[in-house]
């Protein structure tokens, strides 16, 4: 039964086999393009989400005469610590560079390099989150009580959540590659993970400027 099925499908004819695989690759290629478009639309929707909060922050900031604002008792809130933020930013940007190297390693069939750079990215991502937790803990302001604190914790908290999701995403990709889910020519999940990680890096560029440098 199995032999007749193989024979009927032309499995021993090299041209038929080639044609069938070309069909599969063509189908995968089309599916990949749709997935990529969908993923980019997701990133655009995230850009819109962050933009809304950033516009709200800019509005709040311009609606008071002094910044950092003066709270009850006539005390002006301190500026955020730019030195530590600069260091923590470099940690996150460094993770973007290592993720790029990881993807390049995969494209060049260097599996060892892929895993090494992926682990470096995950470690740097966790390092950034630890740095943010340390900063939250040492700040003199809180979520309640001032527009500055509310905007800061909302935006950086939302970004931190994205970084956390990204770390989980990268861990899942690591397990999937170890399980052989992706091949040399079919690795859309890795591309999506890389794009997502670069995206959270770039969002931080905007937040770093808005909260620490402006």
């Amino acid at each position: 039964m199995a032999v007749s099925t193989v024979a009927a499908s032309g499995a021993h004819d090299p041209d038929a086999v080639r044609a069938r695989y070309e069909d599969v690759d063509q189908a995968y290629h089309e599916q990949r393009e749709n997935r990529l478009l969908g993923f980019l639309l997701f990133l655009v929707s995230d850009v819109i989400l962050f933009s809304m909060f950033i516009f709200a922050y800019c509005y709040l900031r311009n609606s008071v005469p002094n910044w950092p604002p003066i709270v009850e008792g006539g005390k002006q809130l301190p500026r955020f610590d730019v030195n530590f933020a600069a260091f923590n930013s470099v940690v996150l940007f460094g993770s973007g560079a290592t993720m790029h190297f990881a993807m390049e390693s995969w494209k060049h069939q260097n599996r060892t390099g892929w895993f090494r750079w992926l682990i470096a990215t995950i470690v740097l991502g966790i390092g950034f989150l630890c740095g943010q937790a340390y900063e939250y803990n040492s700040l003199a302001i809180s979520w309640a009580g001032s527009t500055m604190g509310a905007a800061f914790f909302t935006l950086t908290g939302m970004h931190g959540f994205h970084v956390f999701v990204g770390v989980v995403f990268l861990c899942v990709l690591g397990f999937q590659t170890r399980a052989g889910v992706y091949t040399d020519s079919k690795y859309f999940g890795l591309t999506a993970g890389t794009l997502y990680w670069h995206f959270v890096d770039v969002i931080w560029v905007a937040l770093f400027f808005l909260f620490y440098l402006w």
């Binding site: 730019v82 600069a86 973007g96 560029v205």
Partner: protein
């Protein structure tokens, strides 16, 4: 040596290393085409811009660092 100086020193070294690395990668990928590569190039360029912001912060040009 105080903590702020160490943080600034590490940020300076990190920003230089990451900025140069990102710029080199961007130059290597410059001729690649397709939406995926274009988005990656855009994101790498913005990351390099982020490194420039960190350098400006370290030298006290922005943010009063």
């Amino acid at each position: 040596m105080n903590a702020a100086l160490i943080e600034r020193g590490l940020a300076l070294i990190g920003a230089l290393v990451v900025g140069v690395t990102t710029s080199v990668q961007l130059r290597n990928d410059w001729k690649t085409t397709g939406i995926e590569n274009t988005v990656t190039k855009l994101l790498l360029a913005l990351m390099a811009f982020g490194c420039i912001l960190v350098l400006l912060a370290v030298f006290g040009v922005l943010g009063g660092g």
